[in-house]
Symmetry: C2
Subunit: 213 residues, 2 copies
């Protein structure tokens, strides 16, 4: 069975690993699954061929025999449910790991996306300098709660899981803002994620495509 | 096995069904599962007893024998995986329904949350009148794509699923803005969700607590 994912032909982040295909690559590496990559240009994202797989015109998508998925969280969960390495064996532990996946994308990521929008889409607006501190504080609200929960745990709930993969990936987007480093245990948590061999392989694979030439 | 969820002692929306416990109530009603509700005051959300179940101090939470979960998406998925009525029987269909759950919370909901923040948290700011149209357009970008995909489908992918439950719930938050009604097929889709007996029971249950007295 061949797994094919899509990624940007050229990621706007220049290879920092912040495009969402890195999350799926990481999951596939943790699960020990080989995969192929189809690169998609920005214009092609909005064309019928790609919209047929993802109606929102985003990457990554995931295709295997007879099945096409989109949404990073859903793809990572599918990989985690089909292979060993990303979810605990017991049903309750699996449910808790999935809770952390949703917490990553629906509680922690929204203020981070808002900060990204403030910078990328409103960077030239008259209000942005005054508004940015408010948006950063909304990120800090979540980081403070997550940091208090994490304490000196190595991972969010027992062994490394798809919940950690998603949470660390979401937090990585904050590094350039300096906010992540305000919470030493969260910065160390993300660094533990990055130190995993599977993450390193995923990062290197996307860098090979996106590194400035 | 007793299921206990948490909800606001008094929802800020005054019973319009937009607090996230309505999503979980709806799922439990679709699955035919009775449940109990523990009401939590705003101060109590930030106290250790509640933070032990949800480190982010939000509702809803979900407790059954020996298992405590938070995050609406995760709770709805858990209910859907444990009971009939919210996911197709075949593995591929289940994976696609879960894709729509993640699309609801991680692609469609973030701009809606941004619009809500612009109104509730920045309503008194000098920039808000000029900025609101930009934020609304970010919502429209997603609605337009979703509307194009939905076309004249009844539900997102075959029979009603947890993906529809989450998507309709997310879209409901937009009704008061007028944006939902700009897309007739999306407005009709949400209305089909609201017409389901399970939704009506869920809505009535939260209204009984939150209706203005």
């Amino acid at each position: 069975m061949t797994i094919t994912i899509t990624a940007f032909e050229r990621s706007p982040d220049g290879g920092r690993g912040l495009a969402r295909d890195t999350r799926v690559r990481w999951a596939l590496e943790e699960a020990g699954q080989p995969y192929e990559v189809r690169l998609v240009s920005f214009p092609a994202l909005k064309q019928p061929a790609h919209l047929a797989v993802n109606p929102f015109g985003q990457i990554p998508t995931y295709e295997e025999e007879g099945l096409a998925l989109f949404e990073t969280g859903s793809i990572v969960l599918h990989i985690a449910q089909c292979h060993k390495g990303l979810l605990p064996d017991d049903a309750d532990g699996r449910a808790r790991a999935i809770t952390w996946m949703f917490a990553a994308v629906n509680t922690v990521e929204p203020p981070i996306l808002e900060l990204q929008n403030a910078r990328l889409l409103e960077g030239d607006k008259s209000w942005t300098a005054e508004r940015l501190p408010l948006v950063k504080d909304r990120c800090r609200d979540r980081l403070k709660q997550l940091s208090a929960y994490l304490g000196d745990r190595e991972w969010l709930d027992g062994a490394f899981s798809a919940g950690d993969l998603m949470m660390a990936s979401v937090l990585l987007r904050l590094r350039s803002s300096g906010l992540l480093d305000e919470y030493a245990n969260l910065a160390a948590y993300v660094a533990r994620g990055e130190a995993r061999p599977a993450y390193k392989r995923a990062f290197a694979a996307q860098l090979a495509i996106n590194a400035p030439k």
